[in-house]
Symmetry: D2
């Protein structure tokens, strides 16, 4: 019953097989190999336009290098209070950009509020620094997803303020699978300039890519990556992971499975969720006694900050992945509802 | 005939098998998995003392994070004019350390000259900045190796100047295999504090480790790695590479093979070498016509800066790896000496 | 009627005279002159213990270098939402520290709330980064002052969390004058480790000092200052300003005058203040028509963000200095209350 | 007999008078005052074109912010081995630029060798980083001056390599006075894009300016300055210094005087100079006994690295300023040649 994170899973068979398949022989280093180039083409097909692709090994690297590429001294990044770049990266954006500030913007369940964005830009622009980047996470850190229309509404505000639009797509596959929209529709067609495209959480070992929708728009990007030690010498092994990832549309199948497992959890959990579950995360609010019982039974997950909690309850985050099974979900749910020991007043 | 770089090779079978072997099931992220811990123990055994181990994905990351861990504002790093940190990392050391300078020190064939180190510290210390780190590369960028005694002589000077001693071991396996000394003897027993331990060039896909010989000596290291986006979420896949790498002492066998292939090249090439070949690199000086002929026949390699070249010759770098075959070496050598086409006045 | 900022004033006569007085002759550069040393002693007397003193030219430099001296990679700084380091320095703290984050803490009228500090450290420590610095501004950005007891209550929480305690004293003189406490009592005796001691706003031309209460505690400080270009070559001219500043306790007299002018304004303005005025700033909430009328009459000031404003009113910040006159204050107040033109429904 | 540095002198009377003159009344902060604007105009007149002017307090700040304005990630700066940015600023350029490297270029007496520049760009461009900035110091750190033709020859090479051309003019007045060329001729007319214009060494207290010859070319400059804490709040006091500095062409008179004092020293010292003296510095090579004798008599100066010294001699740097007197020079020279005490075998 592993719901701690989608990065606790391993890699899919297709990813592993591709890595094996491309192991033989010699290949030029630092991304000059034919496989890296061909996967670059594959990204262009997926996004329905020619894109630039820069592989890196972690999501934090993808985000921070993107921020530096789009940044400037004294610049401000607007992101939700829930954003991974703000909460979970130990100041990577600030470090890579030479000190840009991340300004939190109000949101509902991780979806940025357009009015709050407008107000926040107005309030902080100029004095705090120069409004520079809008960063949206899709799927969000709250397990919700932005529709193309929601993205477009926010990027329109960004454009009116001369911002560069970034999307943190650590769970991009989950967003695409959940929306039924095309990758193009929720990115560049909705105003996104640069995307952190995540592979790791959805079935790769260590494979992330920075996607630039207008090739050449960020001329410092190769140097930013190299200066940070994020240019892999044997880049073919990242390329191979993506080959396996995209094979037969597998990346959307694994994402859809993960989403379905969260939906199954959400359905079983009922109404007491901090936020609606739309992708591969569920945030139930549970009695502390129940949490203890689940842990005792071997379930893994993290507590999560949430508002409106009673003293005897906590919010927890449950994350599902391609490797989550129905049996695992059902066992978890059964623990919630099993009235044993009889007479208990604890769990719901 | 691939001699461009040891990073043009893939991964060894043992590494690949280990990655496959550890793919199943769930494992905590960010290095909290049991495999990562057990490989940490393995490093302690190899170095004959308890060490701290921090995995990263590239050699530049290992070096730059080590420099930042050992660094301070206004600090100076002493390294040879040939050092990778100076010549090939696009300013990573400067970036990660907030601006420390790398001061070049005279050397012979990549081996730092102790007198030059003493003189350079004396000349630049104080005015330029604060002497802080000594960085030695073993095996060197010139294909030579430091003996334990040579390392110890330099670190004694470093200690007398309160420096922290770093070793860039991107080709550490090649050095150990060439010397017949133990890993301990050429590192901490010879005064080294922190080591960039390379796995990638010698048979891994993407696996490097920062080794701290006095655990806890560099308390900022975990944060430096995380802030830079170099903490892999699925760290087990780096750990697994090292498991395969160390299996049955395989890492020293692959290194020994690579060294033997260079020795075979060096023997065939004769005396016209820029520097003696002691590990897995050979730097012959060749007529430009020969270079062209080798390229035309499909050999890959890079030109390399060297002194004392005639107008019609160049120095080239030949790098061998675990994947280099005797046949490949012999074919390369045969091209050098084969007088075909008859009547040619070009190659020797 | 100049209330825009205390940095719109010039320098006091005593400061100017001292600068003139020390102009003749030669003096060693970079702070090695006798005057700089003697002013260092003067600071030790003022703070009733031996302190280290580092001159810089701006308050932002004093703050950012202090943060870097006390900082570490991945560190967090706790400061109020009103803090100058967060709102007005274009990311200087983030830049100088290599990316430390400033975490806003709830406050009332600029005075940090101890419970909020405890809760904020608990919520953000660990995941966001490593709790590292507590920064309090005294006098605050809201024109209020911390008592020694209030400082001590907050630094006790900081100490329990292993934080370094910084005070932004851009208006330190105003705080001391307002409190009637000694400089020692509101700094190191209340738990402060490092202080940005401001001279500029209270009658110097360009003179700030970083005060370290435990000499040697921040060994990187000299290098941090030099690397940033903040080590003045003709440091005697900063020292001279401080000599004039401290002469006959003048710095507390100018501060007391500035405070008195704000009190006179506050009294005249009545109850409609965003926050009580305790030092040399007043934040009245005024009808927009009144604001326009004051501007038309030549008054200078800035609008300021405040909560709870009606649609037809704004908050403005009025700052007084040693150069503010009673006549100026009274003329400003007279404009508020003068019912001309008769029949106006605008101003109160 | 003070020859330690031109920053050991105070300020000229004209500078002091201007500071006094502009002390009264209120003036907007951060450079928005009328005096700052009018001095900006004055710079435009001096350079015979509209220029942008950014005041800072130190030469290191002027250089480092210029480098950051002209820089890019992974960039390289080409400067002589003698350059102040390399030797005397504790890594400020590296810090401000996020890690750009300074690549030393061969020179004769501080004057960069064009052939060496071409060769150095060719050798280090691409692999080390991206050639980005050419930085020339005028007057040089060796007391020599570049003619407009020499500057133009070097900037032509720079332009051919897409470099931005910077001049470190910490002793710009001395160069102009020595050359008899106009400020325009040795800067933008000779290909310079950005200039660190020094006032401090030549009679100001603390006044440097970054001059941009093509206004708007470096859009990040204001933010770079603010983020670094180098935007003075009471900027009028820097502006006032420059008003006094430029009054009646005084800056060129003080520079000419300083140059004349060095010429007088050089003439008296005879032929044994490390380099010809062309501005306000002289670098004699003297017997160590003479050096000791001079020191004993109260002369101040620094030893300086130089080649070709005998075991019993050292090179020293003598710097003259507006405050140096003929009497001081003559006394110094008399000590050199006075055979007292008779019978001494020491001084020449």
């Amino acid at each position: 019953m592993n719901f701690a994170s989608d990065n606790w899973a391993g890699a899919t068979e297709a990813v592993m097989a591709a890595v094996q398949r491309h192991n033989g022989g010699f290949a030029p280093g630092y991304g000059n190999d034919p496989l890296t180039k061909s996967i670059g083409q594959r990204f262009s097909e997926i996004f329905e336009r020619e894109v630039e692709v820069f592989f890196v090994g972690t999501g934090t690297a993808a985000n921070a290098i993107s921020m530096a590429a789009a940044g400037r001294p004294g610049g401000l990044v607007f992101a939700t209070t829930e954003a991974h770049i703000q909460n979970d990266e130990f100041g990577a954006t600030e470090f890579y950009t030479g000190g840009m500030k991340i300004i939190p913007v109000g949101n509902a369940a991780g979806i940025m509020d357009p009015a709050a964005l407008t107000a926040t830009i107005a309030r902080f622009g100029g004095r705090f620094g120069i409004p520079t980047v809008l960063s949206l996470t899709n799927a969000t850190e709250c397990g919700t997803v932005y529709t193309p229309a929601q993205v477009a509404e926010l990027t329109a505000i960004g454009k009116a303020n001369s911002l560069t639009m970034h999307m943190d797509g650590a769970r991009f596959g989950n967003a695409v699978a959940a929306l039924g929209a095309s990758p193009a529709e929720i990115t560049w067609k909705a105003g996104i300039d640069i995307l952190s495209f995540g592979g790791t959480k959805n079935g790769c070992m260590m494979a992330e890519a920075i996607i630039v929708f207008d090739p050449g728009k960020f001329p410092n990007l190769p140097a930013l990556r190299q200066r940070a030690g994020h240019t892999a010498s044997k880049a073919r092994f990242i390329a191979a992971q993506f080959e396996g990832y995209f094979e037969d549309g597998g990346w959307l199948k694994t994402a859809a499975h993960a989403n379905a497992m969260s939906a199954r959890l959400a359905k079983g959990l009922g109404n007491r969720l901090a936020w609606a579950s739309q992708a591969n995360e569920v945030f139930p609010i549970l009695p502390k006694t129940t949490i203890a019982k689940l842990r005792a039974a071997g379930a893994t997950f993290h507590e999560w900050p949430a508002d409106g909690l009673a003293a005897d309850e906590d919010c927890v985050r449950l994350v599902t992945s391609f490797a989550t099974t129905e049996a695992e979900v059902d066992r978890f749910l059964s623990l919630l509802w099993d009235p044993e020991p009889r007479g208990s007043t604890g769990s719901p």
